[in-house]
């Protein structure tokens, strides 16, 4: 596939390209006008469903199916919430939208609010974000002043208000049910399903939570139609993905790729390859909770969820981390397990205790005090979490651990036997 259509990064970034004036010059808020005047909420929903767009936050759930649960005639308030928590390590793609195209998100959320008959919408943004928050808050103030929010929007009967809600430091709040519990002003504890959040979410009312990037595609889908959207990407996974790439790579950053783009071409041509021409040891494809793939596994693949799933991993949140030859996978797993232990919310025993257990085992291996049975024990504890916790974090930590153990078991066994790293404990790539 030679083409690489862009749907989001369609304009040159300048010091003013995030402002309302520039956004309008690019045709901003025209699609909102079209939706409000020429389409019914049902027609907007039908278009989104027909586009086949999948969630870009990690789970790749169909946006149309998620929206389809909301009954427009149930007489209840409905809420919409954009997930701008962006906490999955390796992921920084939504930052690009928040900083450079905040009005694209706002216009998309207005159209979504119309389609779902939402009077009050929210954007949950992680507490550490400074510039993204200021850009978003600035854009919202501009949009209110221009009459895009509030009562009688664009002279139609449609009314919608939006609140930007800032988190305060918690990984688990990126999980949808924890996110809404956080908006309720409580500890961000995930909730058991069923009921689904689209049935009972924020303050027990039907609530749709979509990732920032997923939502930001709405303007394009409504402007050009579902058929045009489906011309981009693959049949099963239409559209583009924002990929944030970091680690041992010459040109890290956020890239928009058409789904199905060749992975090797992306790494070596678009992103400039690995520093010092080192070999590619492994890639974590979509945030650290997706299973690691070796350089050999990556080489023939295209960036498409179907292909990655067949290879035992996932495009996840698009947070791609490149790992060069010579990197110590034992110490890499140590960094990851310390993180999961730190972020377990403590609600479910297998995760609360299991994360600590995994962390202590890996710490003792790195300290040269590993025991011969430790590798099997890491597997065992990972399995104890699988499917036994309220949210997916316990599973995710297990997948990450098992993913690394399956492919680099020899490094762990070497470390335990020789009390030192096979790769000198290197995490940096000394080109």
């Amino acid at each position: 596939m030679a083409k690489n259509t862009k749907l989001l990064m369609t304009f040159p970034v300048t010091p003013t390209s995030h402002t309302l004036a520039d956004y309008r010059e690019r045709g901003g808020y025209v699609t909102l006008d079209k939706a409000l005047r020429e389409m019914t909420p049902q027609e907007v929903r039908a278009e989104i469903t027909a586009s086949g767009i999948q969630g870009r936050g990690g789970a790749a759930f169909s946006m149309g199916r998620k929206w389809g649960v909301v009954n427009l005639n149930d007489g209840q308030p409905h809420y919409l919430c954009a997930n701008a928590d962006e906490g999955e390590p390796g992921t920084f793609k939504d930052r690009w939208i928040l900083e450079e195209a905040p009005h694209l998100l706002l216009e998309s959320m207005l159209i979504a609010s119309y389609a779902l008959q939402v009077r009050h919408a929210f954007i949950y943004i992680r507490g550490e974000f400074d510039l993204p928050y200021r850009r978003l808050a600035g854009a919202l103030a501009e949009a209110y002043a221009a009459g895009y929010f509030g009562e009688e929007i664009l002279g139609t009967g449609f009314a919608c208000d939006l609140v930007i809600y800032r988190g305060a430091g918690s990984y688990v709040c990126g999980e949808a049910s924890a996110l809404i519990t956080s908006i309720e002003g409580k500890r961000g504890y995930p909730r058991n399903r069923p009921p689904r959040l689209t049935v009972r979410g924020l303050y027990q009312k039907p609530t749709v939570i979509n990732n920032v990037e997923t939502l930001s595609n709405i303007v394009g889908i409504i402007a050009h139609g579902a058929e045009a959207f489906k011309q981009v990407g693959t049949t099963k996974n239409p559209g583009t993905r924002l990929i944030s790439i970091s680690g041992h790579i010459n040109r890290p950053g956020v890239y928009e790729i058409e789904v199905g783009y060749p992975w090797a071409k992306f790494i070596y041509e678009d992103c400039g390859g690995i520093p010092g021409g080192r070999g590619l040891k492994a890639i974590i494809p979509g945030g650290i909770s997706t299973k690691v793939l070796t350089g050999e596994e990556v080489a023939p693949l295209n960036l498409d969820n179907q292909e990655l799933e067949a290879a035992g991993s996932s495009l996840g949140s698009g947070g791609m981390i490149v790992i060069a030859e010579g990197t110590c996978m034992v110490r890499l797993l140590q960094v990851m397990l310390r993180f999961y232990h730190h972020e377990s919310c403590g609600q479910c025993t297998p995760c609360r205790e299991g994360m600590g257990w995994l962390h202590r085992i890996i710490d003792r291996i790195v300290a040269g005090e590993g025991r011969p049975e430790d590798v099997d024990r890491l597997y065992q504890v990972s399995k104890l979490n699988d499917g036994n916790t309220i949210c997916g974090m316990g599973d995710a930590a297990g997948y990450a651990t098992v993913g690394i153990l399956n492919k680099f078991r020899n490094e762990f066994e070497y470390f335990i036997e020789h009390k030192r790293s096979l790769c000198d404990g290197n995490l940096e790539c000394h080109a």
């Binding site: 961000g188 303050y203 947070g319």
Partner: protein, 154 residues
Amino acid sequence: MKHLLPEFDALRARFPAGFESSLVLPCLRRMQEDQGFVADTDIDALVAYLGVPRIQVEEVLSFYTQFRRKPIGRWHIQACRNVSCSLCGGERIIEHLANKLGIRPGQTTSDGRFTLSTVECVASCGSAPVVLINDTYHERVSPEQLDALLETLA
């Protein structure tokens, strides 16, 4: 907290009716911004203002890592220790800061100038290693750059 009440009233007006509980996080954030930490008397005042249970406020304060119950240094240095930063020299940055300031992560210099913390991923992986100083992201930092920067912070 009294001087913040007009701001809190304005904030309240932006939420739908019945969302008083939602104001706990934004009000605590604002109070901490005001004086650097959340004091016990602030909790009392917030409980009275919002009519939420005190335990809810206490739970929120102990759950979210950004909230503090005690004052810290004037400059809060937070260095990322997650995967991408570690792959790009984050560990050396943390070690350098600790040596330079003579404190370990979690501690404050005796003159009350700097507090050093480590943080998990702050979504700045493409510009690793990253260090936050108060609210500002400093990206792709080197030990030399940090030395020069710290000199400018009184």
